[in-house]
């Protein structure tokens, strides 16, 4: 009994240590495919729970992150299925292509997040105000349209333009 407890503790420690070194990659993979932090966090928890439960099946000579990404992928597929009534914009085929690449171009989230803050500051005040309304104040585009007295269509264009500017700026920041 004592021996078993010691062995369990050691497994837990090993799991925690492996997870510590790889959770960013797994989380980055999830967030690349599910761009909502709350959903991504839930999926990470569910993924890690399965990994923990199935840790005895993990083969020590395999890559822990790849194993985790595989489990995460299945969880994301389940999540997609549960959301399928919402008419998902990305087809399964396209999703597969995206997920293949998602793990390859995994960019550290904290770096990206820092870069995003730098880039937002570079936006002009009008664009900053739009970002502020939509993402800080969680206003819907229709409501923003009422506030700034502009059509929703032009706002959609503006937001996609701002997103693209930020994406380019983040790339540049990360390349520095």
């Amino acid at each position: 009994m004592v021996e078993s407890q010691i062995s369990l503790k050691s497994d837990d420690e090993l799991f925690a240590s492996l997870l510590d070194g790889n959770r960013k990659r797994i989380f980055g993979f999830i967030l690349s495919l599910v761009p909502n932090l709350s959903d991504a966090d839930d999926l990470l928890q569910e993924t890690v729970l399965i990994m923990w439960r199935k840790f005895d099946q993990f083969e020590a000579d395999k890559c822990f992150a790849t194993w985790g990404v595989g489990i995460a992928y299945n969880k994301i597929l389940q999540f997609r299925r549960s959301q399928s009534k919402l008419n998902l914009p990305i087809s399964d085929e396209a999703f597969e292509k995206i997920s293949e690449k998602a793990d390859i171009i995994n960019i550290p989230l904290n770096d990206t997040s820092d870069a995003l803050e730098v880039c937002i500051k570079k936006l002009n005040s009008k664009d900053q105000a739009l970002i502020n309304l939509k993402y800080d104040h969680k206003e819907k585009i229709k409501d923003i349209s009422d506030i700034v007295k502009r059509s929703a269509d032009s706002l959609y264009k503006d937001f996609s333009r701002i997103h693209n500017m930020l994406r380019i700026c983040i790339d540049r920041q990360l390349a520095k």
Partner: protein
């Protein structure tokens, strides 16, 4: 990218898909691009990452991204969450079972009651009023209990809400009595709004607050401040002027470096970029005490003292003209800033009069930085403008403007004071295109004098496509230039066509055949430099300058010939009045 798609169009598809606003046709196109084009997949992942990160802003979740180690819960937290989840699941199961058991007992009791009522009805020979009786016995007490519970819950909710609101914002201690062009960050205040003890951030404009104890305070944006009590405020950034009647004597302004207590007076406080507190007393006297010292100094009418974070106190000349002391007088005078937006312009750099000293350029939202002490007084005409008469003189506009579209215009008033040599005066440099694979890398406007002593207005510009020079042009046209005369210059751009105007008249225009996706300049470009030029090594070239500049504007649209003519009609008198 496949299908002749550019990044701008692709990002529109992705954004629409993220917002759930994508049509079936666009959805099919997006999926096709993702299936067939690896570049599109990469772009999609980056855009979706940006979208994901933006969506976390303003939520509690976003705190996860700022944790020391980065972007997600730590392993320990994750393990704890998982264990909690397990425990929660067990708890839920346990409670579901308890609830199920309770339902069974209740159902059995109801059946018993029903049977009893049936029996009673039969024995009394009365018509069976099974339903009513049942409802009377069973439902009414429940409804009553529900009502009592609901009322209690409402009361508790109301009390809790009041308590939470009071805790969050503090009591009301002041009222907003004046507002001019006020732009707020976060909570905004409107005229007559009661003001709670709380923190506020005024991005621009002016507001006037009347404190409950009687002090009147004008805050000028950009300012961060906290209303601390009915007779005090904390000024973290920005400028205020306090007018304190005798009954409010003791009105206190705390700043990052000092505490200022009014002794019945009118005074101004300004916190600069390095958090030095500037105190100017207009009337009466004020005590000032650095936080890190026990020394208390009294500042009297006409004096100004500066207190640094290290508690050093410096005496300076009065800068009373920098403070707005009355909102009701001359509303225009409150536009001390030199940069502002109007309906069309993205950016306006307007140097008005000596009310707007050069030093202000340095501290206006980081939009304009003076490289040299440019604004100078023209003694002969008693006019003030930005004067560029030294090789070092130039104004650098921080890259905060956004002209990420296919059209834009520049307009400005200039007065040449030196026509002896080539005068280079305006250069937006290294402008980045963000909408496609083209960028305008070089754009330089200047004036030269040819052999026949004819002045010409030039614009040299260069477009790069996929990092190769695609188009290199010089556009030139003759102008009748006189020394010491204000003239209006405008450059307008649409797609790759460019027009130049002098005093409202079209001088020259380009006609480029290869139209299309030009995307003129990006919003995240480099700074614009006025008054000097830089060479290809990004160093300032020593070109002789000699001109004055006023009302320099960038318009995020293509000004038409009529627009420019209208602008030129205004003449400098409109922007030069005192």
């Amino acid at each position: 990218m496949a299908h002749g798609f550019n990044e701008k169009q692709f990002s529109q598809l992705v954004f629409a898909s993220m917002e759930g606003m994508i049509g079936e046709q666009d959805k099919a196109l997006l999926n096709q691009l993702l299936c067939e084009d690896e570049q599109a997949v990469e772009l999609y992942l980056k855009l979706i990452r940006t979208y994901g990160l933006l969506n976390q802003r303003g939520t509690q979740d976003s705190s996860m991204l700022s944790e020391s180690d980065g972007s997600m819960p730590t392993t320990t937290e994750l393990m704890r969450q998982i264990l909690e989840k397990n425990e929660q699941a067990a708890y839920i199961l346990e409670h579901e079972e308890a609830e199920r058991q309770e339902k069974i007992i209740q159902s059995q009791a109801e059946e018993k009651l029903e049977a009893y009522l049936m029996k009673q009805a039969k024995s009394s020979g009365k018509a069976i009023r099974y339903t009513d009786s049942k409802e009377q016995i069973k439902v009414k007490p429940r409804s009553y209990r529900m009502m009592v519970f609901a009322a209690a819950a409402c009361l508790m909710f109301g009390l809790t809400l009041t308590f939470i609101l009071q805790q969050a914002s503090g009591p009301e201690v002041a009222i907003l009595v004046g507002s001019t062009d006020a732009q707020w960050k976060g909570a905004s205040l409107a005229l007559s709004d009661k003001i709670n003890v709380d923190e506020y951030e005024l991005l621009s404009g002016l507001i006037e607050i009347k404190f409950d104890q009687g002090a009147n305070v004008i805050f000028e944006g950009p300012a961060k401040f906290k209303i601390e009590s009915a007779n005090g405020a904390y000024l973290e950034q920005g400028r205020l002027v306090a007018s304190v009647p005798p009954r409010a004597q003791g009105f206190t302004v705390n700043t990052p470096s000092a505490k200022m207590v009014d002794l019945g007076t009118e005074f101004g406080v300004y916190i600069d970029d390095i958090q030095t507190s500037h105190l100017v007393v207009f009337k009466g006297s004020v005590t000032i005490q650095p936080h890190a010292s026990n020394e208390i100094h009294t500042v009297t009418s006409g004096e100004m003292k500066l207190v640094g974070l290290n508690s050093t106190i410096v005496e300076k000349d009065l800068g009373s003209h920098l403070y707005v002391r009355d909102l009701s007088k001359e509303p225009e005078s409150v536009h001390r800033s030199v940069c502002f937006y109007d309906k069309k312009s993205q950016f306006h750099l307007l140097y008005k009069t000596n009310k707007f000293p050069a030093s202000q350029l340095l501290s206006y939202e980081g939009r304009v930085d003076l490289v040299a002490d440019v604004p100078k007084k023209d003694d002969q005409k008693n006019q003030y403008s930005m004067v560029f008469d030294d090789v070092k003189d130039c104004v650098v506009i921080a890259p905060r403007y956004d002209v990420d579209q296919d059209e834009l215009s520049y307009g400005m008033w200039v007065k040449f004071t030196d026509l002896s040599s080539q005068t280079i005066f305006f250069m937006p440099s290294d402008l980045d295109e963000l909408g496609g694979d083209e960028l305008l890398t070089y754009f330089n406007v200047y004036i030269s004098k040819d052999k026949n002593k004819q002045f010409n207005l030039h614009c040299d510009y260069q477009l790069e496509k996929s990092l190769h020079v695609d188009l290199k042009r010089r556009l030139s046209g003759p102008i009748n230039l006189s020394k010491d005369q204000w003239v209006h210059l405008a450059v307008t751009i649409k797609n790759k066509d460019l027009q130049m105007y002098f005093d409202g008249q079209l001088i020259v225009e380009s006609h480029n055949k290869d139209k299309g996706n030009s995307g003129v300049m990006g919003g995240l470009g480099e700074e614009i430099i006025i008054g000097n030029t830089i060479n290809s090594f990004s160093t300032v070239e020593k070109k002789q300058t000699g001109f004055m500049l006023n009302d320099f504007a960038i318009y995020a649209c293509h000004l038409t010939e009529q627009d420019v003519a209208e602008l030129a009609k205004k003449k400098i008198s409109d922007v030069q009045k005192d």
